[in-house]
């Protein structure tokens, strides 16, 4: 045994990659949960293929899970400090994500001629010098796993199933983590199969001891600094679950049944799956025959008095366009969640992109304004789903909530709120037998109409997609009335700005550069700006969550800075929207459409370049 020195780090990124069936998602989750329990802040991001089980040992079948742990964590990290690669295909496809000088742990047993050939390696990278810029650990994981469980499982297949736990054990040693959380997880998960519990526990320990007892890692035992987080009860949550829970919370607060009409689509399906579980909370979930039926059933449910939602991703939003127009015309509350992915068409279903802002703002026939808001972290998806429901219900206007594949599938620590702390939601319900009720009579201040729900006495009325007469709501083709109603619908959405918070800016008022983002890019942008500020640069940052309407102080912020760069994972949809709204301001832009989140390093480089100009 060699004595390991302990070094301290602010944060580290670990990436687990292997074949689709290798259990990388579970390994990563156990590592991140353990770190969270140990006081680290965390963020995770899965990187899984579109195929369910592509051929074994091929690049197409590689599944990954990245974990970022430490003191200050805003995103799932750029390049990794440690890559765990369970086969050659996962190494060849993920090497680009490893920091120069970083650690690569491979299962050396899997580097057979056949697997190397399938992965596309001309020669074995473990034996040539191609990995000399990294610290390469060639661990015989498969054979040591088999050895560790030989008393429990004699067949190769059962034995090899726990390989991922060996890698996890190694990581636990390297980052000085306890094994108890994993033990209790295994005990719970495999309650009915004590042999599996015993085997997995033995393998985690075998991996741990392998690092402790050998000198594969002479200098690496690391303590990752704990985060300074506000007091409270925390949990780990993905953006999709947070979105689902935010909707549930809003329905409870508004005292309305939640209705979700939805059709499965990557990467939004988890919202449908999650809400399907919560019949106990009265969630009325309908898996529709298609995207159109998803939203149309939600519109019917909204007419019938539910807090109605539909969830989808880009192509599904396209299919829902006509029905969103119907909700605009009937002025019914409706939350449309779009977990964006790479487009156009089927595009990149499992990859992230801020693809649908134009579609959300403009993708309908006629003058059809909706409220558009965006979540900006996995955890705050809860609050923005809640906010989407609040605004939609209180302003009787369909609201599009934009999240994305990165937020939806990624996870973060979430400080659990108390329901009593959340803002009230008061939908403008009509009063039964109100003789003055008219379907399109508006509140003079907000221009919001009242919601009369079928079953309520004395309020029978008919609404629909044809233009409505002001007040009475009868079908009208009158030209002056149409102009009036178009104006009302636009102005009603603009006045939502009176009911949302001001836009906040991080950094100095006299900064040389304002960095602007919206939605899911917040983590990387904020970290890049904070690091530059720590390096003494005069740079400020603002991330938009409220897009239609924009916060009222947006113009005054934009006019304050000499240089503004708008960063987006598309070709400039938000920057053009800003140009439309603030025509005298010269916006610069930084865009990327590679199906990947921003890296902090590329952002810093870009900002430094602009600052230097």
């Amino acid at each position: 045994m060699t004595t390991k020195t302990l070094i301290e780090k602010e944060n580290v990124v670990v990436r687990f990659v292997g074949d689709s069936g290798d259990g990388m998602q579970l390994t990563g989750t156990l590592f991140s949960d353990t770190s969270a329990l140990d006081g680290n802040d965390i963020a995770t991001f899965p990187d899984y293929p579109a195929e369910i089980r592509a051929p074994h040992n091929t690049v197409a079948g590689v599944s990954g899970f990245q974990v970022h742990i430490g003191k200050r964590i805003y995103n799932s990290g750029d390049k990794c400090d440690v890559l765990v690669a369970m086969n050659p295909a996962s190494l060849i496809s993920n090497l680009k994500w490893v920091k120069i000088g970083g650690v690569i742990i491979v299962d050396a047993d899997t580097f057979t001629d056949d697997a190397l050939k399938k992965a596309g390696y001309p020669s074995n990278p473990l034996n040539d010098d191609s990995l000399s810029s990294y610290i390469l650990i060639k661990a015989p994981i498969t054979s040591m796993t088999a050895e560790a469980v030989k008393e429990i499982f004699t067949d190769k297949k059962s034995a090899e199933r726990s390989r991922n736990m060996f890698a996890l054990g190694m990581l636990f040693f390297i980052y000085s983590k306890e094994l108890d959380h994993t033990d209790s997880y295994l005990e719970k998960k495999f309650k009915k199969n004590p042999d599996v519990v015993r085997a997995n526990k033995a393998v985690v320990r075998a991996g741990y001891n392998y690092c402790e007892n050998t000198d594969v890692l002479p200098q690496h035992k690391v303590h990752v600094k704990q985060a300074q987080m506000p007091k409270g009860t925390y949990r780990n949550i993905t953006g999709n679950i947070a979105t689902a829970w935010g909707l549930l919370a809003a329905a409870e607060k508004a005292k309305l049944p939640l209705f979700l009409g939805s059709y499965p689509i990557t990467p939004a399906t988890d919202i449908l799956i999650e809400l399907s579980k919560h019949k106990e909370l009265g969630a009325r979930v309908f898996q529709a025959e298609d995207e159109i039926a998803g939203i149309c059933s939600a519109i019917g449910a909204s007419f019938a008095g539910a807090m109605a939602c539909t969830s989808t991703s880009g192509p599904g939003l396209s299919l829902k366009s006509e029905a969103i127009g119907l909700a605009v015309m009937t002025e019914l509350p409706l939350v449309i969640v779009d977990v964006q992915r790479g487009g156009p068409s089927t595009g990149l279903p499992t990859k992230t992109e801020q693809s649908d802002l134009y579609q959300a703002l403009f993708g309908r026939n006629g003058e059809a304004p909706c409220i558009v808001i965006a979540a900006s972290t996995s955890a705050n998806s809860f609050y923005f789903a809640y906010e989407a429901a609040r605004l939609s219900l209180e302003h009787m206007t369909p609201t599009i909530l934009l999240t994305d594949g990165y937020l939806g599938n990624g996870s973060q620590l979430f400080r659990i709120p108390k329901m009593a702390e959340l803002p009230t939601i008061t939908p403008p319900l009509a009063k039964p037998n109100d003789e003055t009720y008219q379907p399109y009579k508006r509140d003079p201040e907000t221009l919001v109409r009242q919601w009369a729900i079928p079953g309520m006495e004395g309020l029978r009325h008919r609404i629909g997609g044809l233009e409505k007469s002001d007040g009475k709501g009868n079908v009208s083709t009158d030209s002056a009335n149409h102009q009036l109603m178009v104006n009302y619908r636009a102005e009603k959405v603009q006045r939502v700005a009176n009911h949302i918070p001001d836009q906040e800016v991080l950094g100095d008022k006299d900064a040389d550069l304002l960095v602007v983002g919206w939605g899911g890019t917040e983590g990387a942008l904020k970290l890049a700006v904070e690091e530059l500020r720590e390096e003494g640069k005069k740079i400020a940052f603002t991330q938009f969550n409220y897009i239609m309407p924009l916060p009222k102080n947006t113009g005054s912020i934009m006019n304050r800075y000499k240089k503004i760069v708008v960063c987006e994972l598309n070709m400039g949809q938000f920057v053009n929207y800003l140009r439309m709204n603030f025509q005298t301001i010269a916006f610069q832009q930084y865009n990327k459409t590679q199906g990947l989140p921003f890296e902090v390093s590329e952002l810093k480089e870009k900002f430094n370049q602009i600052l230097g100009e």
Binding site: R284, E289, D290, C296, I299, F303, G305, P454, I463, G464
Partner: protein
Amino acid sequence: MAIEHSPVQLTKADFTSDQMVKWCPGCGDHAILASVLGIFPEIGYKKENFCVVSGIGCSSRFPYYVNTYGFHGIHGRAAAIATGVKIANPHLSVWINSGDGDATAIGGNHFIHVIRRNMDVNYILFNNRIYGLTKGQYSPTTKQGQVTKTSPFGVIDYPFNPGELVIGSRGTFFARAIDNSPKTLGEVCRAMAAHDGAAIVEVLQNCVIFNDKTHAEVTDRELKEERQLWLEQGKPMIFGKNKDKGLILKGNHLEVVEIGKDGITEADILVHDATRENTGVHMMLAQLCPPEFPMAFGVIRAVKQPTYNQLFEQQMEEVKATSKIKCMDDLLNSGETWEIK
């Protein structure tokens, strides 16, 4: 699902809306409206508990002419909208009005699925075999060979028979009626209202402007008694001016026979049973058409089966009764959580 009844007897006037009915004079839709206005007070639910939903087309103007809660949707989507209404509030009586284009072309997917699920809705399909509101293009039920604005050389599409679609989609209720026969239309609507589950009534409806007399081969005064078979539960399938014709099951198909000829007596005639789960005879009845056969009218199929909404509510009650999670605070704090002090 219990729907609250009106404490007072309602009349047709309670359901007549103040809107001008804008269908063409002579349009079959007027008769369908009159039947529905006649049936609603009879059903006896509180007037606020009816919800009428439609898509797009002449038939879909229906909600404006009935004084209930009404929703005029978008083309083809009435069934999907109505599904949301019914799931959100199972204590409403939900009615859909749709045409052959709305239901079987643009809305075909929603049509088959609302039936498959046995959603508890009443669906009146106005079949005039033409697109009327867009002024005369062929629809999925237009006869092959017919010249229309978009088939100047004759339609080459094979038409849908709505009854086959309903039964093929696991329908629990299918009936057929004719716009110009208010009595039978009323009876069919009454049976539809009494059925729990997706109840579909196809009304052969005449479009006087763009497809006049499309159903004349069965509705013509001279022909109707020979060409209409009105089915009654438990009664033999007899038709004809002199009530001397009937249907028998020969091998695996139906055949027309004459009572009193070749030793055939009334006892040989097939007896109608709409409640049989087996779709065989119902499908054959739905398919009958002249000139070889009469067309079948009345309730062809009415099978009892739990509705989507009953199963939905039952499941929700069961889950609520057994779950430890009673409110959002419980859910937020469930599973793995930890304190930071």
